[in-house]
Symmetry: C2
Subunit: 258 residues, 2 copies
DNA sequence: GAAAGCTGTTCGGCAATGCCGAATGCCAAA
DNA sequence: TTTGGCATTCGGCATTGCCGAACAGCTTTC
């Protein structure tokens, strides 16, 4: 492990979570490293455009270079590239927004967001990071993870985002078992009050889960008995098509049950 | 300058530009560093989620952590935050897409994209990096930069993207002078065939340009004599409102002429 | 089928590198 | 004016990260 790089990233993380700007001293305190060291790191990060110094206050904040790199990741991401057309298709078919996401640590990163067609103003959620236990996307992915990885997730932090968020490992385990049976996952206002989700897993050529794809929209529209079934079928269908696009074997979902 | 950090970022940059995945050996060759060194860097970057190793081929590609950081930058970005409502307003008012961008080196980074209202499928351009000389946004910003920075830009690379791209420093200089007079910049298919742009600069509380805001859309809709004038006025108006939101002095545009 | 070439990876020792304590210069508030 | 806090610079110690060479796994080639 290269210490300097580790620390540099730690600095970036701290800048990302904290208030807009942070001074060298405060930063040094937070990550427990001497002030001159942090200063040196910041200077190199600044030279690379990963950090910007406010000329007035001398404090530092994140820089635009990060967006460029982040975008490069998204462009190079095979799941995302392939998912775009499928997501658009599903969005217009179901009349709701579609999210495509991957699992990073304990969060689901939304890598693509197809807007609900013809709708009013919508906020783009690409780049958003959601606790896995609070969204259909996360549960769909988790359900098909190797058993060890799954218990790891269940043992980790399970934050509560809304009153409906499920934070009990036992209940989640039951839900995941059910997800493996029916092939899709639900969330009922566990992430956003008033919004529900229906998602299915996506597999790659090795047969492992690489992400998920699902609908997001008002509970009233997604979770009525009739709509729920229709949506679930559509989501599962599209997710399976996408998986096959990625070269997944037909039985991908079955093997991973672990 | 912390060498290790510099090299780590160089690795990320290389991964961003190159084909989806890159091996350790090839990477080491490209950046001119010994193979084990690159390996160590990759391992730390991987532990941080900035890089992912393909388990089949052993090659490396960018990781999701970068998106999280990139998004954190966008969220913390004051110009962007403040611009969102103004951009939406302008988009619905003008019936065209609105871009908000900042200058990074020789490129304009699009930090916000308000879709054309009610339109058909549109690709989100947030995160895109455009050569400054090929878009209205870039020219609007460049025109109000301190003189030295401006000559620096003009002396740098001026890539040609379409046949209409302007790559002659003299012509650009004339255009920029004009931009300073009328307060907005145009581009006529210099970035995308069939698309034009109208943009105006945005200033912060110190009176310096921090970015730009402008309309993007089909030439036929934006550049007809009547539309052009109307759009230009709207863009300039909104950009000025946004500047004042950021605390810019009233005379911001005038002083920066350099 | 063997062997050569290519990967990514590990090891150990040299010294360059990045680290830190203390001192500096700067600004703004008291 | 003084004081406190800030970002920044300096120089020497030793930790850290660097590289050459050797290893292990793989596909390609003869």
């Amino acid at each position: 492990m290269v210490q300097a790089v580790h620390r540099a990233i730690h600095v970036l993380r701290e800048l990302a979570t904290a208030t807009p700007r942070l001074g060298v001293t405060e930063l040094a305190d937070r990550i427990g490293v001497a002030k001159p060291t942090v200063h040196a790191l910041l200077r190199t990060l600044e030279a690379e455009g990963m950090v910007v110094q406010d000329r007035e206050t001398g404090k530092y904040q994140l820089g635009p270079g990060l967006v460029t790199l982040g975008n490069a990741y998204l462009d190079s991401h095979e799941l995302r590239t392939r998912a775009v057309t499928w997501a658009d298709l599903l969005a217009s078919q179901a009349g709701a927004a579609v999210w495509v996401g991957v699992l990073t640590d304990h969060h689901v990163l939304v890598v693509h967001h197809a807007f609900r067609p013809g709708g009013s103003v919508q906020v783009l959620e690409t780049g958003a990071s959601l606790p896995w236990n609070t969204c259909a996307l996360g549960k769909a992915i988790a359900a098909f993870l190797p058993a060890e990885r799954r218990t790891e997730l269940l043992a980790g932090e399970l934050p509560r985002v809304t009153g409906a968020s499920i934070v009990d490992p036992a209940r989640l385990t039951t839900q995941l078992d059910r997800v493996r049976e029916i092939g899709y996952a639900l969330d009922d206002q566990e992430l956003t009050l008033g919004d529900a989700g229906i998602a299915a897993p996506v597999f790659d050529r090795t047969g492992e889960v690489v992400g998920g794809l699902g609908l997001v929209g008002p509970v009233e529209r997604l979770l009525t008995e009739s709509a729920r079934q229709e949506c679930a079928i559509a989501v599962r269908e599209v997710a399976r098509s996408l998986s096959r696009d990625l070269g997944a074997p037909r039985n991908a979902g079955l093997r991973a049950c672990g």
